[in-house]
């Protein structure tokens, strides 16, 4: 379509329905390609010309400030001045990399980058200034950037910091293209796992809204089973009015069988029906009475990044260019090429800074919507999801229902039984279609749900088992995957076990640890916080308590935390102070590792006090942060963070402290009130005097 002709017609209100008829999209999922980084590939990340270097960041920048960390490594290895290295974000013409997930960006990418930079440095030292660099790998001990000193272990100003504080365009929604229009794809208020589609709508009323350009029926691949109706306008503010005027009547194929989500995952109901299907540990605990028998439930929770996801799509001569804030540009590229029948080389996805991701941006959604609408109207289209769409159409932390039992003999754990029912993380319904779910769910567990479910303590004969249930809402990766809620369940049970044994919570943990690194973070946080009971009643019936917790993330990264809380008569919990000690081996940038600890502690506070995503009839009804709150400034206490640097290569830092913060707060509430929090987020009613 001729763009100018189209726009002229649109202004006259003549062009209404474009791309009539819903497209047929493959129900075979695109499998993510996850190449591990290696030094050879890393040569493609760094280049040199005229005394300046360019580092093409192989990771998504989403607030972990990995641009700063990898730039430190590049500068240290190259021996280059900070200002001579320019950092750019990758697009999909760069060497393919795996998704930015799992706190791997220093752990897995530091050495390949260092090797590539060392080889580039050698080439420059030899007087070369043109051509390709040959990789000569060397022992890690000869890589300057993997030894402490200079920029390694320093905290330079953060990359893009100036752009952030001066309001420069850094995010996908900040992209503007010539003749760009604004789009939205409307969906039924229904479960995304129940078929739904637009049935009737009021075209004339929509056309009458100033700024209206087009309705688009072919909106690209569905989201789950939900087929949308696209609208395009000349101004973003017109989209609300157009949506309202359209008054779409939706066809919805009935109810979801497990619309009552918390009942569907009730661990006791499942256990009454027999053993859970997937086993993490199976040592056959002895039968008999349990000293601890705890039920712990956490609900669905949204990621809640402040930036609703956004994309700009532009078609030109059969090629598609998309700007997106995504954790996996190559996967988005592959999905787009499959959905729109393009050669992968005909699609270029340019990454932008993510306005918060937290595991929530690893699949392709808004990018395909923007591509479909831009194709239909023949001019670039920007889509930014509304907050309500983020809740309704995104995927979320799965709810989880835990039953943890422990037996103690002479102050030591002898038997342990931890059962959990949750929903999928790795095999998310957001990617795995229903026909494939039926095939895979019979035998496949989900390592994301199981992450961190094996307690990091010597718990005796242990059975650790879980099951996963398909839900009407999409669930998948959320900061730390299952590790956060699993650690909360474990740390709650450890605390009760210590109480049952009559042993101090710190001493009880230390008595069940054979890993010196775990003992190290616990001892240090105890020292920092001057560990000791602070329970008691203050003025006006305010109950005060202190709690401790610790954990290991992905078997290599350690954290321990202490929290002090006050609980007033009405049951309001205020976290007064937190301490956290983290050991992730060699630290490139202590300030930013601390920042990740701070963030994880706030996420831990959210897990205990705020995070929930209300549903009705199997679909998300939350529309605002009022309905699905996240921690606010006044809820967050002063924090003391300390880093231990064991003599190890760098490990992950972005998710670790989420295994310690929640348990510390929950245990502090227990210490303050005598009431064990079992359903999260904690309600006032459960703690009222």
């Amino acid at each position: 379509m001729n763009r100018r002709g189209f726009l002229k017609a649109a202004a006259g209100g003549l062009v209404v329905l474009i791309g009539a008829g819903v497209g047929v999209y493959s129900q075979v999922p695109v499998i993510p390609n996850r190449p591990e980084p290696d030094p050879e590939t890393a040569l493609g990340w760094i280049s040199y010309a005229d005394g300046r270097y360019r580092l093409t960041l192989p990771r998504a920048e989403m607030g972990q400030n990995i641009a700063t960390g990898l730039k430190q490594i590049a500068c240290a290895e190259l021996g280059a001045d900070w200002d001579t290295v320019e950092v750019g974000f990758h697009d999909t013409t760069a060497p393919a990399v795996k998704a930015t997930v799992g706190s791997e960006s220093i752990m897995l990418f530091a050495e390949p980058l260092a090797q590539a930079c060392a080889s580039l440095r050698d080439a420059i030292d030899q007087g070369r200034d043109l051509g390709e660099v040959t990789l000569v790998t060397r022992p890690v001990s000869e890589l300057r950037s993997l030894q402490k000193g200079g920029l390694i272990g320093a905290s330079p100003g953060i990359e893009q910091g100036m752009g952030i504080v001066t309001g420069q365009p850094l995010y996908a929604a900040d992209v503007t293209r010539p003749d760009m229009l604004y789009g939205r794809v409307l969906h039924a208020p229904a479960s995304v796992e129940v078929g739904s589609r637009p049935l009737r709508w009021n075209t004339a009323a929509a056309q009458a809204v100033p700024g209206f350009v087009a309705l688009v029926e072919d909106t690209g691949p569905s989201i789950g089973q939900s087929e949308g109706l696209g609208i395009v306008a000349t101004r973003p503010g017109a989209l609300d009015a157009i949506a309202q005027a359209l008054a779409v009547e939706w066809q919805i194929d009935g109810d979801h069988a497990r619309a009552d989500v918390m009942s569907a995952i009730d661990v006791d109901t499942h256990l009454a029906g027999g053993a859970l299907r997937h086993t993490v540990r199976d040592d056959d605990p002895a039968p008999g009475r349990w000293d601890v028998d705890l039920r712990i439930d956490v609900p669905l929770a949204a990621h809640g990044p402040i930036e609703p996801r956004a994309a700009v799509a532009e078609w030109a001569d059969g090629t598609l260019r998309v700007w997106a804030g995504t954790q996996d540009a190559f996967y988005v590229r592959d999905v787009l090429s499959s959905a729109f029948g393009l050669d992968p080389d005909a699609v270029v996805v340019q990454t932008a800074r993510n306005g918060g991701a937290f595991g929530g941006r690893v699949i392709c959604t808004v990018e395909a919507e923007a591509a479909a609408l831009a194709r239909a109207v023949g001019t670039p289209v920007k889509i930014q999801w509304t907050r309500a769409q983020e809740f309704a159409l995104g995927y979320h932390r799965p709810p989880a229902s835990h039953r943890v039992k422990a037996r103690i003999v002479d102050g030591k754990l002898t038997d342990w039984n931890h059962a959990q029912v949750s929903s999928h993380i790795f095999f998310t319904s957001g990617v795995v279609p229903q026909w494939m779910q039926r095939a895979t769910d019979r035998f496949a567990g989900d390592d994301g749900v199981a992450r961190g479910m094996a307690a990091p303590y010597q718990v005796g004969r242990a059975k650790v088992s879980y099951d996963v249930v398909r839900l009407p809402v999409h669930t998948a990766s959320w900061r730390g995957l299952g590790a956060g809620p699993n650690a909360l369940a474990i740390e709650s049970a450890m605390d009760e076990a210590g109480l049952a044994a009559g042993v101090d919570p710190l001493d009880f943990r230390l008595a069940h640890i054979d890993d010196p690194l775990l003992a190290g973070v616990l001892n240090r946080v105890a020292e920092l916080s001057s560990w000791g009971a602070v329970s008691g009643e203050g003025q006006n019936g305010v109950r005060q308590g202190r709690g401790i917790a610790a954990g290991v993330y992905k078997k290599t990264s350690y954290a321990a935390a202490v929290a002090d809380v006050s609980v007033d008569r009405r049951g309001n919990v205020q976290v007064d102070r937190m301490w956290c000690v983290h050991d992730c081996g060699l630290v490139m940038n202590p300030d930013q590792v601390r920042a990740q600890c701070e963030g994880n502690l706030v996420w831990g506070l959210g897990m205990i006090l705020t995070d929930d995503l209300p549903l009705a009839d199997g679909h998300v009804v939350a529309e605002t942060f009022g309905d699905a709150p996240i921690p606010s400034s006044t809820q967050v206490p002063p924090m003391v963070i300390d880093l231990l640097e064991s003599d190890r290569p760098p490990q992950g830092a972005g998710e670790t402290a989420i295994v310690a913060g929640p348990g510390a707060i929950a245990n502090a509430v227990r210490a303050a009130t005598g009431i064990r929090p079992q359903r999260f987020p904690i309600t006032r009613a459960s703690l009222v005097l």
Binding site: G161, V165, T166, G167, I306, E307, G599, V602, G626
Partner: protein, 150 residues
């Protein structure tokens, strides 16, 4: 309106749009962000006649004749505003998306209350959400900036 010190016309077709979109899409000032659309999160905060204002729920036409300041207008040539400088010194931003709104709320606070108490900071800033959890650093940066502003 006076936008960052310059007199600007509000085109008729944008008068019924949220001020946020007038700023972002018409004037190409991308600092203020869309976060929630209902004035809860504060990512869209700009300063209108000295008051921190949620631009996502402010009608563009309603700022006719008003003085509107956005984060792009804070620095004086190459010299950052003390609040911007404090944000860099404290390495406040993680993802950074909420920070323009946080900074504008902080600037408005310090203009009205150059020596804020903890309660003043709570009252001014509790409506600006940050999912990354940078609240402690925001507080430290405001206190640093208040020293400079004095």
């Amino acid at each position: 309106m006076i936008l960052n010190g310059q007199v600007q016309d509000i085109p008729e077709e944008w008068a019924n749009e949220p001020l946020l979109y007038l700023l972002r899409e018409h004037f190409d000032l991308k600092g203020a962000k869309f976060g929630c659309g209902v004035g809860i999160c504060g990512a869209c905060t700009v300063i209108v006649d000295g008051i921190a204002t949620r631009s996502c729920i402010t009608n563009a036409g309603d700022v006719e004749g008003a003085e509107v300041r956005t984060i792009e207008g804070l620095a004086n040539d190459d010299v950052l505003h003390p609040v911007q400088q404090a944000w860099l010194d404290q390495s406040v931003p993680q993802c950074g998306y909420c920070q323009a709104g946080q900074i504008m709320s902080a600037v408005a606070l310090l203009e009205q209350t150059p020596r804020p108490t903890e309660d003043d900071v709570d009252a001014a800033m509790d409506g600006n959400l940050c999912r990354c959890g940078t609240y402690g650093r925001i507080r430290a940066a405001i206190m640093q900036a208040s020293e400079t502003v004095r």
